[in-house]
């Protein structure tokens, strides 16, 4: 089966400094890949290269479009790339303020992508926005509220709704539960799991929290100092870690 995303030898350097190096993997529809590592491991750099936010220094990223044709990310024109990032792909930022338009209402936030691809019926846009707010467990009566009036957890869920409204096939998430209360985290993770299954989403999730990775992902990639140390199924990496660093990481997790 044609993989949704094919990454070959991807690398990014900042002058002399290494961001990430020699990353290769495939991702199928419905798979969730967690990229774990400590601060400075290069996982966020990798995510940004994969999602088209950053230009890689080496290697390539191939994406299989809806019509079946594979396209190299670097070959896309800026218009095509921006269109892709707005329709087929989603990006959930760690800080919801980066992923939302804080100056407009929640409904406008959810409806923006629709309007960007030509939706011109206010009533339809609004009811679609209401549906999505409900799906991410936000009271639909808060549709006209500004995101400033939302809690952190609500803003994250709004971000997710904003991204999913165009039925993307691939979602990138950067520490989606960072900074949230534990109970709020649980709710968010449960929501993401459900949406992934329901819409057969593929997702790449960067996290430093192994518990989040365990919960969300079927596959895991461990990074250290810009390199991929180990990769495999999530339960494989967590229960049968091969590399010394992975064993160290897994054994360092605090047990409750």
């Amino acid at each position: 089966m044609n993989p949704l995303l094919q990454v070959e030898g991807l690398g990014k350097t900042y002058g002399n400094r290494l961001g990430c190096e020699d990353v290769s993997f495939e991702l199928q529809a419905g798979e969730v890949l967690a990229i774990v590592g400590e601060s400075g491991s290069g996982k966020t750099t990798l995510l940004r290269c994969l999602s088209g936010h950053l230009q890689a220094s080496s290697g390539r990223v191939l994406y299989a479009q809806r019509d079946g044709r594979s396209v190299c990310l670097a070959d896309l024109s800026e218009a095509e790339r921006r269109m892709l990032m707005r329709t087929d792909w989603g990006f959930v930022h760690q800080d919801a303020r980066e992923g939302l338009r804080m100056g407009v209402s929640a409904g406008a936030n959810v409806g923006e992508r629709l309007m960007a691809v030509g939706a011109r019926h206010y009533g339809h846009i609004r009811s679609t926005a209401e549906d999505w707010l409900t799906r991410v467990e936000i009271n639909r009566e808060r549709i006209d509220d500004s995101p400033w009036a939302y809690s952190g957890g609500m803003r994250q869920r709004l971000q997710i709704a904003r991204n999913l409204v165009t039925s993307p096939r691939l979602i990138f998430m950067d520490e989606p539960t960072g900074g949230l209360d534990v109970s709020v985290q649980a709710r968010l993770l449960d929501l993401i799991r459900g949406l992934v299954r329901k819409f057969n989403l593929a997702a790449i999730v960067v996290t430093h929290d192994l518990a989040v990775a365990r919960l969300l992902s079927s596959r895991m990639m461990v990074m250290q100092q810009g390199r991929v140390i180990e990769t495999g199924l999530t339960d494989q990496v967590l229960e049968d870690p091969q590399a010394p660093y992975t064993q160290l990481l897994v054994s360092s997790v605090l047990q409750v």
């Binding site: 218009a79 406008a108 992508r113 011109r120 006209d144």
Partner: protein, 279 residues
């Protein structure tokens, strides 16, 4: 001491060439904001320097110039600018729309329909329609280049969500020749339909922001809206108190401190002509 002599219409010829090149580019790409090297003018920014520079660049000795401000020929600004051009070019002036070859305007389009022999020059404060939602110039340029106007619709959506209707009543954004979204300057939305398929050439100059754009004659201009909230112009429930017109844009004038008001045509020339016709 000798009085200074000015080049025709104040600007030197090199400057006029630069501005004309910008105008040609603007006409070639309708609605696209062309950057130009806006000059220091003998009036501060915010007082029509953009419009004045455009007019100065296209003015010829045979032209007849009309200058209006909010539709009126006799306000301070209109008078000042008209005098400025008389002083620096000696060109003929008029208050009658149909006699003018160049009409410089602040914030209104004349009620009298324009002809192919006329040029309408608009004074523009902020040329960028996306500015309020996207403060970065680098980003707005990319959005125009890639025709990413979703955010414009977002603004209109937000209006309807907050006020029940699209609340923008002036500087209403429109799409030119099915390509660029532009700000037609702070004309009331009442005037937007006049932009469409106009026989006259329409030029827009923003002096402080250093941009020129244009709508060539007979160009399609469509105001943005939603299918279920279509674009509508303002209406009044009474005619002009002076000439009785029911089809022109009316200004509200307060007549006393007790709330007395009257509604009068904003276009003074049009109002005078209506009066003469009914007389």
């Amino acid at each position: 001491m000798n009085a200074p002599t000015y080049n025709f219409a104040y600007l030197n010829e090199q400057t006029k060439r630069m501005i004309r090149r910008a105008i040609l580019k603007a006409v070639a790409v309708p609605g696209y904001q062309v950057p130009f090297a806006s000059r220091e003018m003998p009036m501060p920014y915010g007082w029509g320097t953009g419009g004045v520079q455009v007019t100065a660049a296209i003015l010829t000795p045979d032209d007849t110039l009309k200058v209006i401000d909010q539709g009126a020929d006799d306000t301070t600004n209109a008078v000042s600018i008209r005098k400025f051009f008389v002083k620096t070019s000696g060109v003929a002036t008029t208050e009658k729309t149909e006699d003018a070859t160049i009409i410089q305007t602040r914030h209104r389009i004349p009620e009298t329909p324009l002809t192919e022999d006329q040029i309408l020059v608009f004074q523009v404060p902020i040329p960028e329609p996306l500015r309020f939602l996207e403060p970065r110039e680098t980003e707005t340029r990319v959005m125009h280049a890639l025709e990413e106007y979703g955010v414009m619709q977002v603004k209109l959506y937000e209006d309807i969500a907050q006020y029940g209707q699209i609340a923008t009543t002036y500087a209403y954004p429109a799409k030119v020749a099915d390509r660029y979204v532009f700000d037609p300057s702070p004309i009331p939305k009442f005037d937007n339909p006049k932009l469409n398929d106009c026989p006259a050439l329409q030029l827009f100059g923003a002096g402080r922001e250093k941009r020129i754009y244009a709508v060539p004659p007979y160009t399609k201009v469509v105001s943005l809206d939603f299918e279920d909230h279509p674009f509508e112009i303002q209406t009044w429930d009474r005619p002009c108190a002076i000439c009785g017109s029911r089809k022109s844009f009316l200004d509200e004038i307060l007549t006393d401190d007790a709330g007395g008001q009257m509604f009068v045509c904003s276009d003074t020339d049009f109002c005078a002509r209506q009066q003469n016709q009914s007389a």
